[in-house]
Subunit: 194 residues, 4 copies
């Protein structure tokens, strides 16, 4: 399997996930502007998840760009990642409809945690398939973002049952950490060219 097929399929699935998520913002039945008020937490959740899926799309693209061949294990690790990402709209909808209540906020963190683990597994399999001179390994480097994020999610999940705004803040913080585009892989690719 060529990398671009896997990329096109993943892009398609992420594009659909990001778009059907908007279906959770149900059209209100009244016509007054005050009927929009109950939608504010739903829209805020949507924005957060939109940013997360944008980050995944972006980093996933960079990662596959540094991948030459796709093994069976990589293919299934990729589907495993898409599986967890496909649960984001559900977790987002539940969290938004319940105004960031404890259990929904914890579930949201759990889906993010599993997605991060799935991403990490995929990354390790690609690095393993590339052997000792792995471009991706060099590109990822210390990978402090990839190591810190699951820790923050794991902290945020139990905290959601104590003070749910703390876990929400942690999800926003992780998003901000990643929002800075990941130039590591681009740099490694560039230096491997020269």
């Amino acid at each position: 399997m060529r990398t671009n097929r896997l990329e096109a399929f993943s892009d398609g699935v992420i594009a659909i996930i990001i778009t059907i998520m908007v279906l959770e913002i149900k059209v209100p039945h009244g016509e007054g502007i005050e009927t929009l008020l109950p939608l504010i937490p739903v829209v805020l959740s949507y924005i957060l998840s939109f940013v997360y899926l944008g980050i995944y799309w972006n980093n996933h693209h960079h990662m596959l760009h540094a991948t030459q061949k796709v093994t069976g294990a990589i293919l299934w690790a990729n589907l495993h990642l898409l599986f967890w990402l496909s649960l984001v709209p559900f977790a987002t909808g539940w969290m938004g409809e319940n105004h960031f209540a404890s259990a929904p906020s914890a579930l949201y963190g759990a889906v993010l945690l599993m997605s991060a683990i799935a991403y990490w597994i995929l990354q390790q399999l690609i690095i393993a398939s590339q052997g000792p001179d792995s471009i991706l390994k060099k590109a990822v480097g210390g990978d402090w973002k990839g190591k810190l994020s699951p820790v923050l999610y794991a902290v945020a999940i139990p905290l959601a049952f104590w003070r749910h705004w703390i876990s929400m803040s942690l999800y926003v913080v992780v998003a901000l950490i990643w929002l800075i585009p990941d130039r590591r892989i681009e740099n490694a690719l560039r230096s491997s060219d020269t």
Copy 2:
């Protein structure tokens, strides 16, 4: 990141937005032709939004065609545009179900305004990335359409609370202004070839 990846992802998202919008036209429960009557404003809103998304798809394509490299800032400006476009089905559904009432018509204008601003930001970032000899800058030229549209939206939003048919007319007028395919970029590309 290559331009064609960004284009394929954006096309995918716009194709999904344009298609799920039709889900707002709910199948009526009766079998008589009169059960379609309440759907007329819903269908009219759908047509307007379909045309707007067609215009965005078309112009977005031309813009990316005049873009060589994609920076991190361009990538996020593009996701920002897709975010606002993804709210079009919601605004369309709310406006259609409430027969173009004031608040829904104003929200529709607000989503169009934010999309226009997001498009403008994306355009400026691409021009900035191309330096002084920017093909896109030459192509866009005076950009009177791009400057007039947000002004008309901004006028239409408060007017929706006074006479909502005026704001609806303004949305139609802006669509008609853009419906004439944008040959500016094509011309600039052609002249830069010769």
Copy 3:
């Protein structure tokens, strides 16, 4: 605009239309096999529309394959076709839920008629853009299928109010006429190669 962009976007929209149509087959609330019985007309409508969209996808592909350049008019004629096709899920759902009643069957025919007209307009614009030696014109030839189909739809629409099974039969007949893959364009392309 290159033809392949238009093709990819159209393919994406048709793929989404064909797939969201299945959402009209609502999961029944009982667990007995008899709860599936009311779904039979819904599934039959789905099959018919699936075949129609398959035919459009196939012929549209062949047509664009014989197209070299995409003008603004062709682009909008293509969006016009996609607009009518996007209404197929609605018409299908209404017809299926009401067991092929008169008004829904007539509306279904109207959507098919408008799609056929939109397809014809697109075809004429491509032929016109190719000038006197148009490959597509040669390929389409007498185009008896393209001429007969709208006539049969136009006959079927009023008949739906008299005997709705006659119009249903006509829709099935037109589908069968087209189901035979359109080798005309392929042949013309082949002979233009030699």
Copy 4:
């Protein structure tokens, strides 16, 4: 028609099927963690179907990779396969909502059976189009997986009315058989290169 068009369209449809399936996991109205309990069978069904669609996507890709030309018959056999796959979300939703009751489990097996038959027809048509030296024929070889799967489905369907957990186990067994990535075609392609 080139193979890659057929592949892109099929990928698009499968990506949409796999993603809209998640819409069957309805957001619960309560905010307590116990409101998730009734969703467990829905999520389990979703996982099973996700794996099945992943298997189809993977094998379908390998099959088309060993296909050079697409005839009209192949095109329609492919649409026929996509038709049955498009019913997977419905069968999954019905089975999950009714906690793997008899009739829904039988229907699920029937959809899997018809998909397997549709896949087999497509495979035979491609082999036939390739003539006596068919790469795909060599790659598929004895095809014990392809022969065993429909038999297991056919056994599972009636068993669903006696002990539905037996048929569920059979569906899981078939998925596990296929989950091992299909290296047969890859091997045949490799040996035909050397």
